[in-house]
């Protein structure tokens, strides 16, 4: 920017704004990207000084000096036929936790909860958990079979499924192992890694109850369903028939479009309130049965090791849980004053009734404001007006759901479950805000 003495004066003509050396260099060797960007920088500076009005001390140059996007023709339509986020949001992506898994096909990527708003997760940021890689399925060659305790085993094409009566429902999807790294001690820095196996979408599909009715399932004997994927792992999970008949969907839609391949395109099971592993992706088959199947992910994984060495099996329901997403671990507050502290609360047993927030490590609690609509087995966004005065603070949130269940503290959870169960850690999370404004993941005891 020109000095005070120069302000208001005429700038040099743009023809002479390129350094002599650069011009000579270019005429000798032509233009490469480096030289071009030097020229553009020089040109932009020249143009800016040419057009810049007088800038006084209190003036914001971003207001007074009209930016280039205000003075130019914008881009045409369909530059991106499928829209993309601003390049300034490039940090907000799914990420892996280094060292968590040794193969990328049986692995996890976490949703960047720290920078999301509202109660829906953008489909491209929905966390991934694959057991044997993800696949691209041709929907014209995909089938859903229903067999087992039914009058007639049936086969449906995708075309037929899309012709059937459908519903759209907003539900959260949380991996049973979410926050599993934190049972013993603090292991990860940010909410993306501590709570990011959590997403929520509007799912569209056919109620499982309708499909079972269509197949004429055996109401007297049936107690469970087996869901099976069409991928290489052909993942199987036993589903409680109670859930299946209540609100489970065979879903093809997610947030208004078809499911993303990483989320099961063209068909996945949606079992609201139940851990993600049961929401079988690339769903090819539902089998009606009367005894659980004890599949690999029901005996070797997704079993909760209790302090007495017993594994709890078929732990399905995701109990009420909440977390403050901003500010959260790995972030920093730059100034004192007002902040819209915000987070998410959810329950696999119903709706969020109440969220309380503590800024002193759980000694005192105040009610947070819930953002509607409050839907069952969906994410509920909460807000908490907070004036940071530069002191150390211990931020916590605590949810109460419609069944009356209150989210436990870490001490309360560990007292019953020990520290080795891997799954279903729904303890209250603590973020420590230092007097320097840095926010860190901590555990209190």
């Amino acid at each position: 920017m020109a000095s005070d003495a120069e302000q208001g004066q005429l700038a040099p003509a743009p023809e002479s704004f390129l350094p002599k050396e650069l011009v000579e260099d270019i005429s000798r060797q032509g233009i490469n990207p480096g030289r071009r960007s030097l020229m553009q920088g020089a040109f932009a500076a020249a143009a800016a000084s040419l057009m810049a009005p007088t800038l006084l001390a209190d003036d914001d140059p971003d207001i007074v000096n009209l930016p280039s996007w205000t003075r130019s023709l914008g881009k045409p339509v369909v530059v991106n036929p499928y829209g993309q986020p601003s390049p300034y949001e490039a940090n907000i992506v799914r990420r892996q936790s280094p060292g968590l898994t040794r193969t990328d096909q049986s692995s996890v990527s976490f949703t960047p909860l720290q920078n999301l708003f509202g109660m829906i997760t953008p489909s491209g940021l929905h966390f991934e958990r694959h057991h044997q890689g993800w696949v691209d399925i041709d929907p014209r060659r995909h089938r859903l079979m229903i067999n087992g305790l039914v009058e007639t085993p049936l086969v449906f094409t995708m075309e037929e499924l899309l012709r059937m009566p459908s519903v759209s429902r907003i539900h959260f999807l949380e991996c049973g192992a979410n926050t599993g790294l934190e049972w013993g001690n603090v292991a990860v820095p940010t909410v993306q890694y501590s709570h990011g196996m959590l997403s929520a979408s509007e799912f569209t599909g056919v109620p499982v109850s309708l499909l079972l009715e269509r197949a004429g399932f055996d109401r007297k004997r049936a107690t469970v369903l087996l869901a099976e994927g069409a991928d290489g792992s052909s993942m199987t999970r036993t589903i409680n028939l109670e859930n299946a008949l209540d609100d489970a969907l065979v879903a093809y839609g997610q947030n208004g479009e078809m499911l993303r391949p990483e989320n099961g395109y063209p068909l996945r099971l949606v079992v609201p309130g139940v851990q993600g592993v049961s929401w079988v992706k690339w769903l090819r088959r539902l089998e009606v049965g009367n005894t659980p199947w004890a599949t690999k992910d029901e005996v070797a994984h997704y079993v909760d090791l209790m302090p007495d060495g017993t594994h709890r099996q078929y732990t399905s329901i995701q109990e009420a849980k909440s977390v403050i997403t901003a500010p959260s671990g790995g972030q920093k507050l730059l100034t004192q004053g007002y902040y819209d502290m915000t987070g998410l609360a959810w329950s696999g047993r119903g709706t969020v009734e109440r969220v309380e927030v503590s800024v002193d490590g759980g000694r005192n609690w105040r009610i947070a404001r819930l953002e509607g609509p409050l839907l069952p087995k969906a994410l509920t966004r909460f807000h908490f007006d907070w004036v940071w005065q530069g002191n150390e603070a211990m931020l916590q949130s605590r949810v109460t759901d419609s069944s009356g269940y209150i989210q436990p503290s870490r001490a309360q959870l560990l007292e019953v479950r020990g520290t080795r169960s891997v799954y279903h850690n729904n303890a209250i999370q603590t973020w420590r805000v230092g007097s320097d404004g840095e926010v860190h993941n901590v555990q209190l005891g």
């Binding site: 940090n91 309708l210 269509r214 052909s234 008949l245 594994h311 730059l334 209150i406 993941n441």
Partner: protein
């Protein structure tokens, strides 16, 4: 029957109808078709703990070792003990006592690595999973006999069966009776059903609650960057930027994480009056810049384009002539020509 009673009977099922349940509209029953026997056989390969679904066949430990070394060992190790790719399947820490009681005692020991064989209570699970999902890169390529053999080999590695053992559909049940952790599972909890009773309860205290307040665990400074630089994982602008966790001082201008992209010389294009006739993508009065750049990628076209811009032309892209553009100064001309001939992907001007 009174009309009231009839209405009540009609309504009753509605009242108890779960939230997603909908009556099946007329015509829906015609969607879907019966599955053929072959189709059901092709897909319904699951094996239950009571061995329903188990195909006939057999395989011994030696045959299992052969399959194992060829198809399984590269991930799981020769003896199923590798943790290179997956958690170990077997570590040789199952005792005779475990097999007798059906409870693996070392599951109580936090120092012991939990292997698959320590956990799995049901033999059917091993058979089902290997048959449906293994080998890792070629699932469903093993025959039933090969699966029996591989399961026998794993059981032998865990001292559950002897090395001369043959596993078959006829002795699965008696072999199940030797599974080391067959009594190690519990379904006695409230997490199977929505209406299940919780085993943990939080506190409703809201003021002066008696809670422990000292920090017992946090990430030490040396581990803060183990997940990469947090400043680059959080929105770089706004109220809560990320902590700079990389070694060395935080650069002063770290606010924008967006790399500079080659820009179209929009200032030059505007100043030269080009934008009046040319758009980026589509033909306006003259051709789109994208089309020009595609056609004239390469330095060899520079002189030609310079001439066209300075002196004008006609007939190349259509009937509309291009007028001479004297307003384009020499430097801008050079910049524009260089951009038009660069052939590179160029970020659209903003």
């Amino acid at each position: 029957m009174s009309s009231w009673a009839r209405a009540a009977i009609l309504l009753l099922p509605m009242l108890f109808m779960p939230s997603s349940t909908m009556a099946m509209p007329e015509g829906v029953a015609a969607l879907g078709r019966p599955a053929t026997d072959n189709e059901v056989v092709a897909w319904d390969i699951d094996v239950r703990p009571d061995f329903a679904g188990l195909p006939p066949g057999s395989g011994d430990v030696w045959a299992g070792e052969e399959v194992w070394l060829a198809q399984c060992a590269s991930c799981h190790g020769d003896f199923g003990d590798s943790n290179k790719v997956f958690a170990p399947l077997v570590l040789g820490n199952i005792t005779e006592e475990d097999i007798a009681t059906g409870r693996v005692a070392s599951l109580n020991d936090p120092a012991v690595t939990r292997t698959t064989l320590m956990k799995v209570p049901t033999l059917s699970t091993l058979w089902d999973y290997i048959y449906r999902a293994m080998p890792w890169n070629a699932p469903k390529s093993l025959t039933p006999d090969e699966v029996y053999a591989v399961v026998a080999y794993i059981l032998n590695l865990g001292y559950v069966v002897d090395e001369d053992f043959t596993l078959s559909d006829t002795n699965m049940a008696e072999t199940q009776a030797r599974m080391p952790n067959r009594n190690g599972m519990s379904q006695d909890h409230g997490l199977w059903s929505v209406s299940g009773l919780p085993d943990v309860s939080g506190s409703s205290c809201t003021a002066d609650c008696d809670v422990a307040m000292s920090v017992t665990s946090f990430l030490p400074a040396y581990a803060m960057n183990a997940h990469g630089n947090l400043a680059e994982q959080v929105r770089s602008w706004g109220p809560f930027p990320g902590l700079w966790t990389e070694m060395g001082p935080e650069p002063i201008a770290s606010a924008s994480a967006v790399a500079e992209v080659p820009m179209a010389p929009d200032a030059a294009l505007r100043a030269g009056g080009c934008a009046g006739c040319h758009q980026m993508a589509d033909q306006l009065i003259g051709p789109g810049f994208d089309a020009i750049r595609a056609k004239y990628a390469g330095q060899e076209h520079a002189a030609y384009l310079r001439d066209k811009i300075v002196n004008g032309g006609a007939g190349v892209w259509g009937a509309m002539p291009m007028p001479p553009m004297p307003a384009v100064g020499d430097d801008a001309l050079q910049q524009i020509v260089a951009w038009l001939t660069s052939g590179e992907e160029s970020e659209r001007s903003d």
